[in-house]
Symmetry: C3
């Protein structure tokens, strides 16, 4: 035997794409063709762009206080997976894609094509460019600035407090095309240069120059990025944009291929 | 179109503050003015103090066996955020505040003003003093003892098994006012002394003396705490209680200010 | 006052063990005596073996595309705890036990008695033997192979990309009876030998020989496993199977005891 509710759900889902068990505020602006999964809660003053999907068990537009909540804007074509929590007061460009159980606090400004992996914890008050990709369980402290095309891998932490606990927060800046490998901590106020690579399980204690490799705890200079060769192709593994293109649009890939041939 | 359920919820929420989609055991003792969010489950033998809030999608008072569950006590003025799981058989003083998705196992005794960050994982059978503050994703092994005013930052792990897997667990003790920075592991049975500071991304392999700084993997002696100066003020950054007061009551702050002037 | 729904739940729960607030696809094959908790979603083409329990707020059999979903098979006597997400297209032997909020992607083949701790993140396309035990927050990259009786502790990461981001993934192999302690990262393509022990907070950059100990960042040779003595008994702490038997069947324990006496 099955609960009676199933038949009802099939009906609603097909017709409206908003599950009847969800709570959607009457003041939320829900775009065309948006899917909202079972049990999900959409609070006041949320705007969700056309063709987006919100999975089950999410809480979207959570307020921090009892005051009028600031707006949460989720761009079109986005996909927020189940059990995720987004606070009010942030803005995300189109094609935001998240894993499950992400936590996203207030005052975030993010560009388009932002990927936030399962269990990521964004503490808010940060800026993200376009095509930023965070793998699972990345922790971004407040006041961080992450530029276009940055990659961060599981359990990377961007810190912000030089003498915890204190009131003087200094955010980390990660420049475009930089890659931070898994289980790495970046100390407050540092800059990871454009196209730099930080190895796994590192503690970054100094600024990292553009197009260099650092690794270790504390992280030490390991050469320039073109010394790393891909085992399979025998070619330079970096800049990664010269050979890794999955998930980027044709216009960008064309540009990167031309750049690689110069 | 919106599901009909929304109007119903508004009504219940305003009148009773217990969402009609929640499951609340008839044997639970719910204080005055307590809010219980959508879909949350409150099991048998739970007591929740006055003016507390429980967010959506929580499971409060989960039993480990089919036996009569031991009591779970949540003090007054507490705030448990969404998707959190608390097992039966623990006790928390007033003003417990949690982030989202915390997991709290059985046999915990905690004082007042305990702060448990998003994604923290408390394995149970531990003691916490008053005003303990855990940032996100802190993992506390069984048999830990955490004294008053301790701070731990993201991905700190307190271990307990010297030769895993074994049956001889030795808990860590963290003494009052100590601070453990992000991504640090403390080996079993060690003591972090009063007011000590452990730097980020460290592995603590020996006891840490009171009011000293250690850092590294393995962690090494880095001086006494008063060698660390705050960049902005030029004053000693520690003891932190001499200058960091956010979230503490006036009576404590007054005491700390007087102490700092002696 | 309590919501009326509670009484209804008691009734359904006792009679059918499938909570009436859950969504269970008509095409799912649910075994005898299976419990399905409140609000849980069971998608199409899922098979759950007899006497299993699925906790609240789970999503079981999630599809990655709109195509016909491949089968998800959960063996008998399993226990999946609340807020967990399993994708379609994997198979688990009997007595699978999970903590809360595990994320399990597609294309996993796992043996029996698999234990997946709270907040573990299995990226899919991996193989697990029998009696594998993952503590909390273990992250398993794609293409990993984990043999029988392996233990991994919190925040262990098995990586797979030598030059991230790239398309040439090389999975890690962890051989039988090996133990990887907390907060350790294993670089791509490496093998952790049978019965080896990797210490806490290590970065493994080379293959680890059978029955040896390594530790550090980068991990260095620390001797053979029998040099580690248990503090309490004064006996060798490893192989752990000679003295640690909790959770294993009598037939295995008998075999291990005989082996230890030879």
């Amino acid at each position: 035997m099955r609960p009676q509710s199933l038949a009802k759900v099939d009906y609603y889902w097909n017709v409206m794409k908003i599950d009847p068990t969800s709570y959607v505020s009457k003041s939320a602006a829900i775009g065309k063709n948006v899917e909202i999964g079972p049990y999900t809660i959409v609070h006041d003053n949320v705007e969700i762009g056309d063709n987006s999907k919100i999975g089950a068990f999410c809480e979207i537009g959570l307020q921090t206080t009892n005051a009028q909540s600031p707006k949460l804007f989720i761009g079109a074509e986005s996909n927020i997976r189940s059990h995720s929590v987004f606070y009010a007061g942030s803005s995300f460009g189109h094609n935001l894609v998240t894993g499950h159980r992400v936590t996203v606090r207030e005052n975030i400004e993010a560009g388009s094509d932002f990927q936030i992996g399962t269990l990521c914890d964004l503490q808010g008050s940060s800026k993200f460019g376009n095509y930023v990709k965070l793998h699972s369980s990345v922790h971004i402290g407040q006041k961080s600035t992450i530029e276009d095309f940055v990659w961060m891998f599981p359990y990377v932490v961007l810190t912000n407090d030089p003498h915890p606990p204190s009131n003087h927060l200094l955010g980390v800046t990660v420049s475009r095309f930089a890659v931070i490998a898994t289980m790495t901590t970046v100390l407050p106020g540092l800059n990871i240069g454009e196209g730099a690579l930080v190895g796994a399980h590192s503690l970054v204690t100094k600024n990292v120059n553009a197009n260099t490799v650092v690794a270790g705890s504390p992280a030490k200079y390991g050469g320039t990025k073109d010394i790393l060769l891909d085992d399979k192709s025998g070619q330079a593994a970096y800049p990664w944009r010269f050979h890794f293109h999955r998930g980027y649009p044709t216009s960008l890939i064309d540009e990167w291929v031309i750049e690689s041939q110069q």
